[in-house]
């Protein structure tokens, strides 16, 4: 694991006095003051607003997760009351899914990078983009208000009739938060689709687009087609809860399983809202850090669309034991197996990209390789659950918990962190500390596996999920739970480290050159951080996606932005 040494002929660092100030005017230093941030229409600043807010909620969701794990150290429900435990896992789920994972990559990295990658000055609707963030914040405030008033205990799935008739917690308020948040998501998706269709730079044809864009395009389709369904479902729950209109409660003439169909019609595709952007990030990182064009570009691009389309047809696999017809179960099962194929295609293509590449061990690459491995495990364990017979014993056990955390933490979160590291130099104009980056990536990988692998075993043994207390007469269960909690502690440490060094690097990190890795995307052909208008001159694309040229040539900014100053510093200078 040798860090790449200084490239030959690397330019000398900037003079010391400018170590705290950028030489060029960029989106960060173009305006000052809180108003310039809160009323900004710059997609890059909005991305940073999102980054700050979702990080806050990620931390809150993480605190809930730690409390859950601590409770499960012992079989008895002794740290918190069962009611409190129920609220902990509910709020962990709601915050992590609706306020962190769904906005994470699209709203932060997507917002920042989509216009830059396609050579545009901004998103198509900058005001709507800002509105998205405000809707997100309003949603977040509503959810936090509900939490402070006592929280909600229905599980993030809000299954009826528990949520509509029996729960004594803040179901409607939380639902309202999710409802509002949905509009934020829809508007972001709409903005991306219009931008990608209409604002590509000259020469940026569809098949020259970075795969990050393809995956965000597919994600946006799901956002605008799926989110309205959850919004309507939440309204129906609220109608039933407030006005006792019988929709889901059989006592009022409703059908409780109907809710599950509505809910999963959105919430299964929502899994792809979380994982597809991450796949896009991984495609970029794998290519950049092996200096290879992605193997089977078109297959990877179309597999994103295939996942988005087939993802809408598999919701019923959450209902295999819910008294759904066995024939409906068979249809949902076979389509669920089909949706596994595009994911497999991606994994094989990423792996093949590495073949005969020039593979660096930079932090983003460590995350990307971790992603491929963990996503593969997460995806393959999905086969147990897509298969009708095996799902019966495993559903609603810790096997499910382990499976979706391999996808959402091992997959989506790893991709997000890898992406943050990969584009941190572009976003902030500063390098993060590479050594700490690699160290924390390894800590996260170890902690993650120690947390969630034992849960596969727990689920196979039959331990139900959402249990505040578990049987004390099964000693193995406690051993596995203790391992899981130990892993969660390691994972927490691994996640705190980047939190610290990212903040540190914003002031003290080394200046980043325009193209530190170097990579091929248009976002690297402007300054770091980019100027408000992204490109001084609209770039004209005459090359294919991931067309690597000699390193010196790629380091030249060269899209005519007028700044001919040499690259500031190498990525891994030792000075």
């Amino acid at each position: 694991m040798n860090p790449p040494s200084l490239p030959e002929g690397a330019p000398t660092p900037r003079p010391t006095e400018s170590r705290v100030r950028f030489a060029h005017t960029n989106y960060i230093n173009a305006h000052y003051g809180i108003k310039s941030w809160l009323l900004t229409k710059d997609h890059k600043r909005i991305a940073l607003l999102y980054l700050g807010s979702i990080s806050l909620f990620f931390a809150l969701g993480g605190v809930y997760a730690m409390m859950i794990r601590l409770e499960l150290l012992t079989p008895a429900s002794d740290l918190v009351q069962p009611m409190t435990y129920n609220k902990l896992f509910t709020q962990h789920g709601i915050i992590m899914i609706f306020l962190f994972l769904i906005p994470s990559i699209p709203a932060v990295l997507g917002n920042f990078l989509v216009p830059l990658m396609i050579g545009a000055k901004d998103l198509a609707f900058p005001r709507i983009n800002l509105l998205s963030w405000y809707l997100y914040m309003i949603a977040a405030v509503i959810v936090v208000w509900a939490l402070l008033n006592g929280g909600v205990d229905t599980g993030w799935t809000f299954y009826t009739p528990y949520s509509t008739t029996f729960s004594n917690s803040y179901v409607v308020a939380t639902g309202l938060g999710i409802f509002v948040n949905g509009f934020s998501s829809i508007l972001t998706g709409l903005n991306f689709i219009v931008t990608i269709h209409t604002m590509r730079a000259p020469g940026m044809t569809w098949f020259r687009l970075p795969l990050f864009i393809w995956s965000h395009y597919a994600t946006s389709l799901i956002m605008i087609l799926g989110t309205p369904v959850i919004a309507i479902t939440i309204l129906l729950v609220a109608f039933e809860r407030i006005a006792h209109i019988g929709i889901f409660d059989p006592r009022l003439g409703g059908d409780p399983v109907l809710f599950q169909h509505f809910f999963w019609f959105y919430s299964h595709p929502a899994v792809y809202i979380m994982i597809l952007p991450s796949m896009g990030v991984v495609s970029e990182i794998v290519s950049t850090h092996s200096r290879k064009n992605i193997f089977g570009y078109t297959f990877v691009a179309f597999s994103s669309l295939a996942i988005a389309v087939f993802g809408f047809l598999v919701w019923g696999h959450h209902l295999f034991t819910s008294s759904q017809s066995v024939y409906a179960g068979m249809i949902f099962s076979i389509i669920s197996f089909t949706v596994a194929i595009p994911s497999a295609v991606k994994v094989f293509n990423w792996t093949a990209t590495l073949y005969k590449g020039s593979i660096s061990y930079d932090t983003p690459m460590l995350y990307a390789m971790g992603f491929i491995g963990l996503f593969t495990i997460g995806g393959l364990t999905g086969l147990f659950l897509a298969s009708l017979g095996t799902d019966v014993h495993l559903t609603d056990t810790y096997f499910i918990v382990a499976h979706f955390h391999y996808i959402m933490v091992g997959g989506a979160l790893m991709g997000y962190l890898g992406g943050l590291h990969n584009w941190w130099p572009k976003i902030t104009g500063r390098m993060y500390p590479e050594g700490w980056g690699r160290f924390s990536a390894l800590v996260i990988f170890v902690g993650f596996n120690l947390t969630f692998f034992p849960q596969f075993l727990l689920g196979t043994l039959g331990m139900p999920r959402r249990y505040a207390a578990y049987p004390a007469d099964e000693p193995v269960w406690q051993v596995l739970n203790v391992m899981s909690t130990a892993g969660a502690s390691i994972l927490a440490v691994g996640l705190i480290i980047p939190g610290i060094y990212f903040i540190w690097s914003m002031r003290y990190g080394k200046f980043a050159p325009a193209n530190p890795w170097p990579a091929t995307g248009l976002e690297w052909r402007t300054l770091s951080p980019p100027p408000t208008e992204n490109f001084a001159v609209t770039p004209i694309v005459t090359w294919e996606a991931y067309e690597y040229r000699p390193v010196e040539e790629m380091r030249v900014i060269g899209v005519g932005d007028g700044d001919t100053s040499p690259p500031v510093q190498p990525a891994h200078g030792t000075t």
Binding site: F166, S323, I341, N349, A386, G389, L461
Partner: protein, 377 residues
Amino acid sequence: MQLPSVPFMAERASTVAGQYDALYGYIAAITIFFSGLVAVLIFYFAVKFRRRHPLEIPRPNAGSLTLETMWTVVPFIIAMTIFAWGSSLYFTLYRQPKEAIEIFVVGKQWMWKFQHTEGQREINELHVPVGSRVKLTMTTEDVIHAFAVPAFRIRSDVVPGRYTYAWFEATKTGRYHLFCTEYCGTNHSGMNGFVEVMDPTAYQTWLAGGGSDSPAAAGETLFQSTGCATCHRLDAQGRGPNLNGVYGKPQQLDDGTTVTADDAYVRESILNPRARTVAGFQQIMPTYQGQLSEEQILQLIAYIRSLGAPDAGATTGSRSQTPATDTTTGTVAPDSQRSNPLSPTQPRANANSNARTEVNATGGGATPARTGGNSNQ
């Protein structure tokens, strides 16, 4: 099928557990093989093709249609084998046996109530004999629960407003955990208990030790006390249909369609009588929504079931010639499979006359009953 015992697998204590574990093993092998393959390739490539010079640029990929086709088609074929095997196991798990000990299960925040055909009721403990098929007819008083016994590899949601079914045949005596696995509120994790699998003689002793009315007998009492009998006269045509021999038979509805009078239809007719009315009758029956507990509805269904028609051999438990499936002990009377396979043999007609005395008195007892009467009748 005898599979080796594997660490971290739940105990195998039912006939399907072995089949289940075989499929689990197959998918686990696929999972380990492919994750291992991907991990090894990534590690190998990462070491072998590590960056050796900061300025090196490798040759670009050309792509390969052959490879793409291979890694699309091969996973697809493997996935389809899992699909076929998984579906076949699912049908085994969800196709309800015709001959089985029937137990009614009612979930309630936060307990499981069981009622045996012989009258025993229990909470959070379920006693069953080893080697007999047991069919569970389940519903809930409140929210959705799920009934799961990991050692048997069975699970089914228990949904308010409808009946769901599960079955198992235990292969080993012992005590096995039973869990509610669909989140159901505050004390969800306390909604669990044990299935006690006993050897048949012990089970027989247990069955004989007390218990109350059988569900059918309790249902009969209810049928009188809640006023059903005033309209649904069993001796002649009343204002409501005569229920003799109705259960399990197609019924002509007033809109011209027909419906089989199964559990779901009987239940609906009690709670929402006007939803589907039998042809020739007025919609005058009031709803019993909110007046009967789920257990009472199940008792009424058991009673109506017991009013099998004289000619309805197929549904009245007179499959005396069919050998009982796998049931074990020599004391089993073949014809008592549905009601109480392990009880001392009692001629069905006698059982009927014992059980139906009261009905006879009110003029309804002309029909053979399927439920074996308990001695305390």
